[in-house]
């Protein structure tokens, strides 16, 4: 029986390409590791970017409402400015609105037990707690209705110096009591979120009057056309801007990503990560072809078509790249999992993951193009010179 791998010309391509790669096991392992690390590097940078985007729109996306009403020119949730509280009633009376409630956002000082002052972002919540924490690690969200009681995220425990429910601290020189700890409510502004009721928040945030809030959050009636309701609110309620949840999330993300130096830095870092990863992958694959250039010359001299050699190179690139990407993906998912409860999470979406894989495979194909060019330039006469 002839070797099973040599049954057809396609199997010759597979046999030659895989055996060429696996012959030097150490080199093979190093190459796959190199590609895996390159992929992981690129994926980690993109994962940071996705994590960042998710973080800065998390409260909007998790509020469970359809429409946000705010002061004109509000650029991001964090920089909400005052609007009259009676806008809640005005919005509630618009046709198609199921319910509406307020939200207050303000920046004030928190005094750490060790004496240092920390800026925090206070989120004042209305009756349904829309815009509040979506997961609790400890305590109950309803505790914010108690006087002087707040909820902070477990990720901010150390920063705020509050380790247990019932601990006391000071905010703007006044006492606060920890009513519970939320889970996974990250901040990327470095100012921890502090959730409380609107009434409590008004006691602490000095620049808001008792009849002011920052946002009106709207839930539409079931099966309603959200865009129609948005337009109706904009027509019927004066001096406000009305956005759907998606629009507001997008605006917030765009503000932080494109209008601040921090966002641009993250984007550039992600792009560099992709570029460096692509270059490492391409170089690694090109080096493999160069290592075997004499063997390719021999195959050419023996009458193998350029097409067959191209297929061998492409098969090598895709199999090495594929393996490296699989290993890199495993590393990336492990890192995503490990960072899930950290202040700087790596996150991804199915689309982003597929995009990363497709991009990496494209890099492999591009690098094989360089290798194929080297083979095209190869002179089979060179085999006569040993």
């Amino acid at each position: 029986m002839i070797p099973f791998l040599i049954n057809t010309m396609a199997s010759v391509v597979i046999a030659v390409s895989t055996k060429m790669l696996s012959h030097n096991r150490m080199r093979f392992v190093m190459t796959v590791t190199g590609i895996a690390i390159a992929f992981f590097l690129a994926a980690a940078q993109i994962g940071l970017l996705v994590g960042w985007i998710n973080t800065n729109s998390a409260i909007i996306n998790n509020a469970g409402v359809d429409i946000w009403v705010m002061a004109k020119e509000t650029r991001t949730l964090d920089y909400g400015t005052a609007i009259p509280r009676h806008r809640i009633q005005q919005v509630s009376s618009v046709k198609g609105v199921a319910w509406a409630e307020g939200m207050l956002v303000g920046w004030i000082n928190w005094q750490h037990p060790e004496g240092k002052h920390i800026t925090v972002e206070v989120i004042g919540l209305d009756n349904a707690n829309a815009g509040g924490p979506w997961r609790m690690a400890e305590g109950n969200i309803a505790s914010i209705r108690l006087p002087e009681t707040v909820i902070v995220d477990e990720l901010s425990k150390q920063a705020l110096g509050t380790l247990h429910v019932g601990d006391e601290a000071e905010m703007e020189g006044r006492r606060v009591i920890i009513g519970g700890f939320s889970q996974g409510v990250r901040t990327f502004t470095a100012a921890p979120f502090v959730f409380t009721s609107i009434e409590n928040a008004l006691d602490y945030v000095p620049y808001y009057h008792y009849d002011e809030i920052s946002y009106v959050l709207v839930r539409a009636v079931p099966n309603a056309n959200i865009l129609d309701i948005r337009d109706r609110i904009a027509q019927e309620v004066s001096d406000v801007e009305v956005l759907t949840t998606d629009e507001f999330a997008e605006r917030s993300v765009k503000y932080w990503m494109l209008e601040t130096g921090v966002g641009i830095t993250v984007i550039i870092t992600a792009a560099l990560g992709l570029l460096v990863g692509a270059v490492i992958m391409s170089q690694t694959l090109f080096a493999i072809t160069q290592d075997h250039i004499a063997n390719y010359a021999t195959l050419l001299a023996l009458g193998f078509h350029q097409k067959t050699l191209r297929q061998i190179v492409l098969t090598q690139s895709l199999s090495l790249g594929g393996l490296g990407i699989i290993v890199g993906l495993v590393l990336f998912f492990l890192a995503c999992n490990a960072s899930a409860r950290s202040p700087i999470p790596l996150e991804t979406t199915p689309m982003v993951t597929m995009g990363l894989v497709a991009f990496s495979l494209l890099c492999c194909i591009a690098s094989s193009w360089f290798s194929i060019r080297a083979i095209f330039k190869l002179d089979p006469v060179s085999v006569f010179h040993g």
Binding site: P3, V12, A15, V16, G303, V381, F384
Partner: protein, 239 residues
């Protein structure tokens, strides 16, 4: 005898303008079925250039090459590959077996590339491995073989797809005299058995009595020597 390979006015020049080096000058040659020729000459005389042209690896500047009365089109790379694939067998100085394949696989891929079917490949593989006493090496890799064994595998690889022409470039250069002689004898025996034209380039004049024809090349000019010249050791000077 049937003519297999013919060179008509083959010239090969490098350079241009005033700086032209003629490596081969108007070479006319004819090789017949089952004939074994040796090509000798000093370094840089054009031996490898002629062998490369005969092997359809290098285009001549002038003249034409005929294989089985068919002119070779050196401008069509694909047809050159096709000629090499079907009609030519090569043996290189260092065997140049693919190090990552077993001996069996090294041979089988050549058969498959030449379009042979499974049964034919198997029959030829078994036959050649037996004739060249390589059965025990079948599943080994080239690095597990001695230099002489590797050249025997190279002979098997060159013959597997039944080429009408076998070209060997200094196949004994990396071997000691005795091993080299054995390899050349095997090569001659197998090529004659297959009725293939055999052209061997060598520096080793001790091998010359084994061949049917002795071709000497010097300064790009080719001449045929008589076996009597062996005793005088005047191969590089006679014209």
């Amino acid at each position: 005898m049937k003519s297999i390979l013919t060179c008509q006015g083959i010239t090969k020049s490098y350079g241009s303008g005033d700086i032209i080096e003629n490596v081969l000058k108007q070479v006319d040659l004819e090789f017949f079925e089952g004939q074994a020729s040796v090509l000798i000459g000093p370094s840089g005389s054009g031996k490898t250039t002629l062998l490369s042209i005969l092997g359809c690896l290098l285009a001549p500047s002038e003249g034409q090459l005929l294989i089985a009365d068919q002119s070779v089109n050196f401008f069509d790379k694909s047809s050159l590959t096709e000629v090499r694939r079907q009609k030519l067998g090569f043996i290189f100085q260092h065997a140049q077996l693919l190090p990552f394949l077993t001996i069996e696989e090294n041979l089988a891929i050549v058969g498959r590339n030449a379009g042979m079917n499974d049964a034919d490949i198997k029959q030829r593989l078994d036959n050649l491995l037996q004739r060249l006493e390589l059965q025990a090496m079948r599943y080994k890799h080239p690095n597990q073989l001695s230099g002489g064994q590797r050249q025997r595998v190279a002979i098997a690889r060159a013959l597997l797809h039944r080429p009408s022409i076998v070209l060997a470039d200094e196949p004994t250069a990396a071997l000691d005299w005795l091993t080299g002689k054995t390899v050349v004898e095997l090569l001659l025996e197998q090529a004659r058995l297959e009725k293939a034209v055999l052209v061997v380039v060598t520096h080793d004049t001790r091998m010359l009595p084994l061949f049917d024809r002795i071709l000497s090349i010097a300064d790009g000019l080719l001449s045929e020597q008589q076996q009597t010249a062996i005793a005088d050791n005047t191969f590089y000077t006679q014209t």
